[in-house]
Symmetry: C2
Subunit: 376 residues, 2 copies
Amino acid sequence: MDPRSVGIVKAQSAHFAEPFTFRSGRTIPHFELAYETYGRLNAAGSNAVLVCHALNASHHVAGVYEDDATDVGWWDNMVGPGKPLDTDRFFVVGVNNLGGCFGSTGPKHVNPATGQPYGADFPVVTVEDWVNAQARLADHLGIRRFAAVMGGSLGAMQALQWAVAYPERIAHALVIASTPRLSAQNIAFNEVARQAIITDPDFHGGHYYRHGVVPVRGLKVARMIGHITYLSDDVMAEKFGRDLRDGLKYGYGTEFQIESYLRHQGEKFSGYFDANTYLLITKALDYFDPAAACSGDLVAALRPAAGVKFLVVSFTTDWRFSPARSREIVDALTANRADVSYAEIDAPHGHDEFLLEDARYHALARAYYNAIAEGL
Amino acid sequence: MDPRSVGIVKAQSAHFAEPFTFRSGRTIPHFELAYETYGRLNAAGSNAVLVCHALNASHHVAGVYEDDATDVGWWDNMVGPGKPLDTDRFFVVGVNNLGGCFGSTGPKHVNPATGQPYGADFPVVTVEDWVNAQARLADHLGIRRFAAVMGGSLGAMQALQWAVAYPERIAHALVIASTPRLSAQNIAFNEVARQAIITDPDFHGGHYYRHGVVPVRGLKVARMIGHITYLSDDVMAEKFGRDLRDGLKYGYGTEFQIESYLRHQGEKFSGYFDANTYLLITKALDYFDPAAACSGDLVAALRPAAGVKFLVVSFTTDWRFSPARSREIVDALTANRADVSYAEIDAPHGHDEFLLEDARYHALARAYYNAIAEGL
């Protein structure tokens, strides 16, 4: 095992017996959140860091499970002893979001009102809802204030929302590869993915569990679309180009390597991810728009976060959430005289870069966390 | 009716009794091509212009049909009396490509070998095949040499292929919004569209005609994906932004205007376009790569075209086939000392711009055609 791994970890579950009201106005009577922690909370309770996940990830941020040493946490290169987010110094919390499919209450779980799985009846979730649920988990864990909340992409939206909704409960927000709101093109990609799932005959209006099927075809297509937007044009050209697997076949099998890659990604994803959760998460992405409540004024929307310190990072080849989108956040924070560090990293891998061990990006994160640790 | 319209037009059909051999080695015993013509072939037979269509268009380039005055040709803003491609001076030919679904022999037609529709058994077509079939149509119409062959996107690939395969039969090639080959990302988008169609249970392995169904769901998703790539991020933001149709609903109906637009486009398309033809056309796009036969050397591949004169046009916001892709063509032609005019038009609408009445683009096409007309 990697000596810089947090090693064997165990998922835990927190039960919340009080009802939870969503932004939509809907309510669930009680819920569970699956989470993991690494490192130790110090006596002052001041060294906790919350890591928020993006689309397909979970509470399993780092380490491996005892029964499956191949199931490595999704941000294991970032989190561990001696890693940028150093678990020798920080108490790190990963949480599966509400509506998820890895243990937290979601569409697969039983709706107490019907005795059947929620399915499509699970309330539509928003980033605000997730953050409110995470705040309950923080209470449960005795964390009054996070040293930092960190995330990439949709995870970064949660970090930003923490800063806006609970500025007194976080000292730093690390906002990586993000945007203050989705563009029409971003929403368009999500909508195509949703239509692929919803129109799959095996979707059954979101109640496929009771039919013993899964909308595999729709999930595959949805994931293939996603993958195109995660990679830069250049890195796709470099990794796959126009390479053929086995010559031209003049047919619809896999001919180009890129086809093989995408089909494989779609196949893998449809084997473990819940379609209703996918729909919920794309909606949460679409809805996120803190400025909307302030007539589109992002400066006003971020005013409550002025006391939080920020690290904002973008990647030059990210065409999903381009650096220009991160600069909108930086500009609005700066207009509020917030303490903001911003880095635009010249890196080839597009949106996916935030998950990769890019040397400059990791050095930056390390330096930022070192400074936090020294101030604890 | 627009006084600058060619007016009422009539589709015609040419029958070719000799077998046609595809690049794949497969053969069909005979075929039809649907076509239209506007203007009059001059006595010298020197004023013919072939207009090649892209993905979803047809031989109906200009004018309207007697029984449907709303069915305006797809490039009516470019072709007509007094328009950039002036039908008072040129004899313009539009043709539905082989494998198409608007009259030319394609998957919907009966396979003489089985007495059933070809369906998925129709041979996979390539741009080379289309151009070879178009050359037969030129023979049929008594056109020894085209004054110009013109197209946008996939249509431009045909113009380029004409210049390479039949340089003695064309004087000018107008290559608009094109690329010498698809990138991995371009292929990826096509592959997702194909998977959406192929995995639709109503596809029935391409033999849906005999089941009396159409893979509507897959076609819709395919078309939605296509539309995202036709528009620029900016124009989508401007046209739709994050505008809502009727407030937030917290559900999966259409909430954002962009969703409504895409669903409408998908709906419309699935009502008139054949799924097998869509698959064939995306494959023709993926396969086009003249340089491949010359070990990737585009200069060598375009050498036969050195005697043809070119107008190459790209649009700044086209991210499907960016200006850089057109410049590859220009550079390779220039290296062959071909006569090339190149314009990179600063225009907002992305790939779709080639179909729009952009003032600078149309002025350029008009000037180019005027110069051709003066040399006739």
